[in-house]
């Protein structure tokens, strides 16, 4: 069973891309894989607690690891205390770590 890294890069409010990524992540997790949805670039907006992104609860319930690029958060003025519960801020090295682990990577 492969594990997966899905990298989302688009704002969830202006693109269906983040929701599609969330659906994919959830489905893969339910199939038994370990899955990380990494929020980079404008997808980092989805990490903001005050944004209504219903997929976040679905991801948490499914056990998908949700990580946001700290650099992207800072670029967008999203402070640590504005990040939604259940989202972990990390650096882009997390992507390299997961590639090294052999995760299949999908960039959205």
């Amino acid at each position: 069973m492969s594990d997966y890294l899905i990298i989302a890069t688009r704002d969830p409010l202006s693109s269906g891309n983040a929701d599609w990524g969330a659906d994919l992540a959830t489905t893969l997790k339910q199939s038994g894989a370990e899955v990380c949805l990494f929020l980079a670039e404008n997808a980092a907006f989805a990490a903001r607690a005050r944004i209504v992104w219903t997929a976040r609860d679905r991801l948490a319930a499914a056990g998908v690891e949700l990580v946001a690029d700290r650099f992207a958060l800072e670029e967008r003025g999203i402070a640590d205390d504005e990040v939604a519960q259940g989202v972990r801020a990390s650096d882009l090295g997390t992507v390299v770590d997961m590639l090294e682990q052999g995760r299949k990577a999908i960039w959205l």
Binding site: T9, R10, A40, E41, N42, F71, L92, G93, V95, V96, L99, E100, G102, R103, A105, W107
Partner: protein, 135 residues
């Protein structure tokens, strides 16, 4: 023990954040001791284009030096140098088909012309591959 990672890039310079994210990833991989392969196709063949030039900004009254316009070819050259200094390889291949279509023949030193077969070879020899599609 780090091995080899391959990245496929599509986006031309200056158009979107994917390019800078990709170059950040490549740098991190090199810092962690990975050998890196890059297959640049479509507009990404312009990333290491040797004829990129900085320019002044007449609207804001800035000279070339003051404007300090970023040039992706310098970033890529720096990554190639970083790899070399660390005893690693950064094998940057521009897709020849895409180079011909775009007339992007003049690439910086350290970049080689190749084909999709090179991407297949790189991917086959790598521990993992990340394809960064165009937006």
């Amino acid at each position: 023990m780090p091995g080899t990672l391959t990245f496929a890039l599509m986006d031309p310079p200056y158009e979107c954040a994917r390019t800078t994210t990709a170059l950040r990833l490549i740098e991190i991989a090199l810092d962690r001791g990975f050998n890196v392969g890059v297959f640049a196709y479509e507009g990404a063949v312009y990333l290491p284009f040797a004829q990129q030039q900085a320019h002044p900004n007449a609207v804001h009254g800035r000279t070339v030096e003051e404007e300090d316009h970023p040039l992706p070819r310098l970033w890529i050259a720096a990554l190639i140098d970083k790899a070399r200094a660390a005893g690693l390889t950064l094998d940057w291949v521009n897709c020849g088909l895409c180079v011909d279509e775009r007339g992007a023949h003049d690439a910086i030193e350290g970049v080689r012309r190749g084909s999709p077969a090179d991407f297949w070879a790189m991917a086959s020899a790598s521990d993992n591959v990340l394809v960064i599609p165009t937006s």
